[in-house]
């Protein structure tokens, strides 16, 4: 994911709101529209809650977390999303929402699995939790279309022990899971709001409260859906929280009613409500301009009815600003160029190109080999965004006719010019290179990454408005992982993204370390850490078949990586 800097850890962290870079992948949308695939897909946001969960912990209630998997046609499941962990609750409502593209023509089978996160992992970030170490509270599954077609778009499923087991007589009551679907419209306007409170009441016995806010929107049916929560401020009765970012259309509109509740954090999960206000974004903006506070109220039981007791605590809006979040396409439309570069693996592990079982075998009948398929399918998607359709192309891991092993040689055979024209140019250079080099090894990416970084840095020095994407197609696992990490860390501050596509049947588990999404930030041997995640790894056999998924897998991280670079430097698109 783009920016690697993380905030407060553990369960006291802020959750929800709008991601700094927005949810919709408009790069994918534009590519599909260009192929004539209009409007037969839409972005859906799923929110989750559960009731009546089993109690797994001895001294307290379970700490549930939901994991969503997609069930492929062949029966395999892939994890796609995790919610946050809710402390100590058997009836949790999770705030983090899952955005999924709904394809009208495909059956998308989802598997939901609720886990109880062990207390020893209280301070571990959600993405680092190992699911094998947690206890299962139940599973449920359904097709995405089932949720979307229900009235109110609300579907309640029974949680069972194992979804595949047919024995229905085993009514192991594990509670229910409710999934709510909403279509998301990404608006470009995001409101940045800094909230503070004066005189928060003390709910703890010997110390001040530990307040945090939960902002929820009210939907037509009357239910309130939490949109985001701030971080917890310890022991503070005049708290000022870090700013929250709300996408205007995520909450409905500027005058949709929002409920802002102030809770006192308790590590056992039972947070006491201190007070609340009901305001729309427009009201909050007014509060900011007149610099006045709004008293919190607390619904208190008086006799048989609830009365709103007005408290002396006041909510203030210290800052309210609306910013236009430019999208990836805004930059491209404004003149930013995407430039692609390709590097192909010529190591001996691919097999002798003259033998039919080699990944580099050129079939006289014209059938494409794994590399040609990858170059063609990936190239088609990427070249759509390249302005001049002329790319540098290199090979690595081979010995050119008269020379030592090179880890970065020009694919077109030229000694001073590395450019080829179009996908056709790459294919031609590839086939001719195959007969002019002898495959060798080892598999090293450092040289091509450095070459790409050099091109990106020269463009920076010339103040050109360019962003570079290096595509590395490889069959195997990298030989010197540290060398690759060093090269990546050095290049992490450049306008460069690196897309690694693995072909063939190798186990690419080790390569996933390079993609910071799945683990920690990359660290070089000299102690420098990558400033941002610039790598995306895709295993080609996992995405083959199904045009849409190839595009999604490849372009999944590119807009985020691009936008993080632009926004951190305050570079705006030229209009």
């Amino acid at each position: 994911m783009g920016n690697c800097c993380s905030d407060a850890g553990g369960r006291m962290a802020a959750v929800g709101g709008t991601a700094a870079t927005g949810n919709q992948n408009d790069a994918v949308d534009l590519y599909l529209k260009s192929r004539g695939i209009h409007g037969i897909f839409s972005q859906i946001e799923l929110s989750f809650s559960a009731t009546d969960l089993r109690d797994r912990d001895v001294f307290s209630k379970s700490d549930p977390m939901l994991v969503v998997y997609i069930k492929e046609r062949d029966g395999s499941v892939t994890e796609v999303f995790r919610t946050e962990v809710v402390l100590n609750s058997l009836n949790p409502t999770w705030i983090t929402k899952y955005t999924i593209t709904f394809h009208f023509e495909a059956v998308q089978n989802l598997l939901f699995h609720v886990f109880d996160v062990d207390t020893q992992f209280q301070n571990v970030e959600v993405k680092m939790l190992k699911l094998e170490e947690q206890q299962s509270l139940g599973e449920a599954s359904c097709a995405l279309s089932e949720i979307v077609t229900k009235p109110n778009r609300l579907l309640t499923l029974d949680l069972v022990r194992r979804v595949e087991s047919v024995s229905s007589t085993h009514s192991q009551h594990r509670g229910k899971l409710t999934v709510h679907a909403e279509e998301c419209f990404s608006s470009k306007t995001t409101a940045e709001i800094t909230l503070s409170c004066l005189d928060v009441e003390s709910k703890d016995l010997f110390s001040k409260s530990d307040p945090f806010l939960v902002i929820s929107k009210l939907v037509e049916s009357g239910i309130s859906i939490p949109v985001c929560k701030t971080e917890v401020l310890k022991n503070d009765h005049n708290p000022t929280w870090k700013p929250v970012f709300l996408n205007i259309q995520q909450v409905g509109s500027k005058d949709s009613p929002l409920v802002i509740e102030c809770f006192n954090f308790n590590s056992n999960g039972k947070h006491d409500l201190i007070g609340k206000v009901q305001k729309s974004l427009e009201d909050l903006e007014k509060l900011h301009s007149v610099k006045e506070g709004e008293n919190l109220f607390l619904p208190t039981l008086v006799g048989h009815d609830y009365e709103n007791k007005i408290l002396k605590s006041k909510l203030f809006v210290d800052k309210f600003s609306e910013t236009i979040q430019h999208t990836f396409l805004d930059y491209l439309a404004g003149g930013f160029e995407l430039n692609f570069m390709v590097a192909i693996d010529f190591t001996a592990s691919n097999g002798n190109p003259r033998l039919p079982d080699s990944l580099h075998y050129i079939d006289p009948s014209g059938r494409q080999n794994a590399y040609q398929k990858a170059i063609y399918e990936v190239g088609e998607v990427l070249q759509f965004y390249d302005s001049d359709k002329c790319f540098p192309a290199w090979g690595f891991g081979a010995r050119p006719i008269d020379g030592p092993v090179s880890h970065c040689f020009n694919l077109n055979g030229s000694s001073n010019n590395c450019m080829v024209e179009g996908i056709r140019g790459i294919m031609m250079a590839y086939t001719s290179a195959l007969f002019n080099v002898s495959l060798a090894g080892p598999t090293l990416f450092g040289h091509v990454i450095n070459r790409a970084a050099l091109i990106a840095s020269q463009s920076l020095a010339n103040e050109a408005q360019k962003y570079f994407v290096l595509l590395i197609i490889t069959d195997g696992v990298v030989t010197d992982l540290q060398e690759t990490k060093d090269a990546l860390v050095k290049a992490s501050d450049l306008p460069l993204s690196i897309l690694i596509v693995g072909v063939g049947g190798a186990d690419f588990k080790e390569m996933e370390i390079l993609d910071a999404d799945k683990g920690e930030r990359l660290e070089s041997s000299s102690g420098r850490v990558a400033s941002r995640d610039i790598v995306q790894f895709v295993s080609f056999r996992d995405v083959q078949g199904g045009e849409i998924s190839v595009v999604q897998a490849l372009l999944a991280e590119l807009p985020t990586q691009f936008l993080t670079y632009m926004r951190s430097r305050d570079i705006k698109p030229c209009s």
């Binding site: 690697c4 800097c5 993380s6 905030d7 407060a8 850890g9 301070n123 401020l233 450095n450 970084a453 050099l454 990106a456 840095s457 020269q458 920076l460 020095a461 050095k490 290049a491 501050d493 450049l494 930030r521 660290e523 000299s526 102690g527 420098r528 850490v529 990558a530 400033s531 941002r532 951190s568 430097r569």
Partner: protein, 180 residues
């Protein structure tokens, strides 16, 4: 008139996963940026960030051309302001990481480094952004050659000037103590 130093604008952004011993730092972390023993500045104290403090504090310092490293020390105050400070971790930024590297020197660069505590063990990450105020041609050529700083982008890639960052090995600790 020779310019023997350049203006460095360094913004200390944030730090992650700071610990003392095995417990996360509770609050009041701050950073001391030193170019040499007499040239150092401190950031403000972050009272709320805990073990993930953020400062976004911009410091402007004069950096002599023969500087090799910029040292960042993350410390925290115990209790009241006179209660004494404790060192959490240190990182050293080799000047070659931002001069003569991939990005132009006057361009804003974002860098992050691994912090190591007094015993040499890993203790968090620090994130900074920096840039040099003046481009190299404002300095005299004599000063430039004295520092061995190159102009422009080398053909083969950024050349290292033989700057090495060493991590002390403490033989008193078991071999797996360095890997967290």
């Amino acid at each position: 008139m020779e310019t023997k130093s350049r203006t460095l604008e360094i913004t200390i952004l944030s730090a992650e996963d700071l610990r003392t011993g095995n417990t996360p730092v509770k609050k009041n972390a701050f950073v001391v940026v030193s170019i040499d023993a007499f040239n150092s500045k401190e950031t403000k104290i972050d009272g709320e960030g805990g073990s993930y403090p953020s400062w976004n504090d911009k410091l402007v310092m004069e950096m002599p051309v023969q500087t090799r490293f910029i040292t960042l020390q993350v410390k925290y105050c115990k209790g009241s302001s006179s209660g004494g400070e404790k060192l959490v971790g240190v990182a050293r930024i080799p000047v070659t990481d931002f001069i003569g590297g991939y990005s132009p020197e006057t361009c804003l660069q974002y860098l992050s480094y691994r912090l190591r505590d007094a015993k040499g063990l890993k203790n968090g990450i620090i994130n900074v952004s920096l840039r040099l105020k003046e481009p190299l041609r404002d300095c005299s050529s004599q000063a430039a050659s004295a520092g061995g700083i190159g102009l422009g982008i080398p053909i083969d890639g950024p050349t290292d000037f033989g700057v090495v960052t060493g991590i002390p090995i403490c033989s008193a600790y078991p071999p797996n103590a360095f890997f967290r």
